[in-house]
Symmetry: C2
Subunit: 201 residues, 2 copies
DNA sequence: ACTTTTGTCAACCAAACGGTTAAACAATAC
DNA sequence: GTATTGTTTAACCGTTTGGTTGACAAAAGT
């Protein structure tokens, strides 16, 4: 067992525990148990619970953020952009289904942990899309809409079914398989729904 | 100071603390301090932290659920229903902005705490709306859409801006006042957006 | 009038928590 | 082969946590 192995095993176990239970609900002992190592090792590699949490949180952001900016920045027609986004973002979240709830909860607990880097990076990408949407509105290619509302709508409809999964599963009376099917449908449904709303007939 | 006063003061303080910090982050001492009473009183009126939490959680559900079923059950044209929903639901959440994140986090932590009562109640209301939407689709009054996706879309676009507020505020570079304005706009925007998407020109 | 019940508090308790220590162990260098 | 460095462990520590206790006062019941 090399040291890199151990450090990675800790981060993996910490990711599991922090993302499912949150910073406050997570226990250092549980992380150690899940990684099959002594609790002292957590402090040997990551000085404190806080530092370990920050490593997990930053990784979570770095999984979700780049794909968002990548798709938004790409030079392509708006409708294609929307289709690409819903498809590949829902796909991404499916592989990391705990992350959205985790980020949302921890950010509401302590809004300051967001480092500017990601925010400013996204701010620039978004400005490009803003002008793209505004120009299309001015040219009468799509119905009038504020770019901010448009992006909130797309992101909301893509992410919400994951964070509200327990309620929606219960309310719509679906088992796990049915719910996965519904999520799969949304990859195209959300894009179609949005495009139908803004396109001019 | 009567006993009813004390019990209510405890529940109010507990609501504050639990909703902003979650079950795991909440401290009984902090609740006692906020209620200006001795910590032993919490256990005198509510036997344990868990029981106190459940009282807060049930109240939170009872604030959010009835309005949802009420609007969905009401006999009125679909478009009016959508307009009423987005307007009055965004309005309701504005007054209890911590609740959605609170419910979502606690439900992901422990999906079993949802009692059937609310779920089954909603199941019936939703069936009515289901047939309403399906009939309109069959009659060619609206574009084809699965009622389940429609309701997820409406709810997602209404609630998401509240749970993702810290991220969206940072990303869209808005201060508190601007963000409140944006939320206000969504009361009509979401309904318009949805109706535009499903209506036939 | 006195007894019982209800409400309130300061002090206390055992358990769980994040974190530390000192020594054992393993790997590499000399 | 031995010194040096990095890795791992069991045992430990101080603090915080949810929860309890016993004393006491104010009502309520008789």
């Amino acid at each position: 067992m090399s040291n890199q192995d151990t450090e990675q095993k800790i981060l993996n176990a910490a990711t599991d525990v922090f993302q499912s239970k949150g910073m406050d609900g997570a226990r250092m002992q549980e992380i150690a148990d899940k990684a099959n190592i002594n609790k002292a090792m957590l402090h040997y590699y990551y000085r404190s619970k806080q530092k370990l949490f920050e490593a997990v949180f930053k990784t979570a952001i770095s999984i979700m953020a780049p794909k968002l900016t990548e798709i938004i920045e790409k030079e392509e027609p708006l409708f294609d952009k929307i289709k690409h986004f819903t498809n590949s973002y829902i796909n991404l979240i499916s592989k990391h289904s705990y992350i959205p709830t985790f980020i949302i909860h921890e950010l509401n607990r302590n809004p300051e942990i967001l480092q500017d880097t990601f925010v400013k990076q996204f701010g620039n990408s978004f400005n490009k899309m803003k002008t793209q949407v505004n120009e299309m509105v001015e040219n009468g290619e799509i119905r009038p809409i504020e770019p901010e509302h448009l992006i909130i709508n797309v992101v909301a409809m893509s992410i919400f079914p994951f964070v509200a999964k327990p309620i929606l599963k219960a309310v719509l009376q679906k088992d796990e398989a049915d719910y996965q099917l519904l999520l799969e449908e949304r990859k195209t449904h959300v894009a179609d729904f949005v495009i139908n709303s803004i396109k001019i007939n």
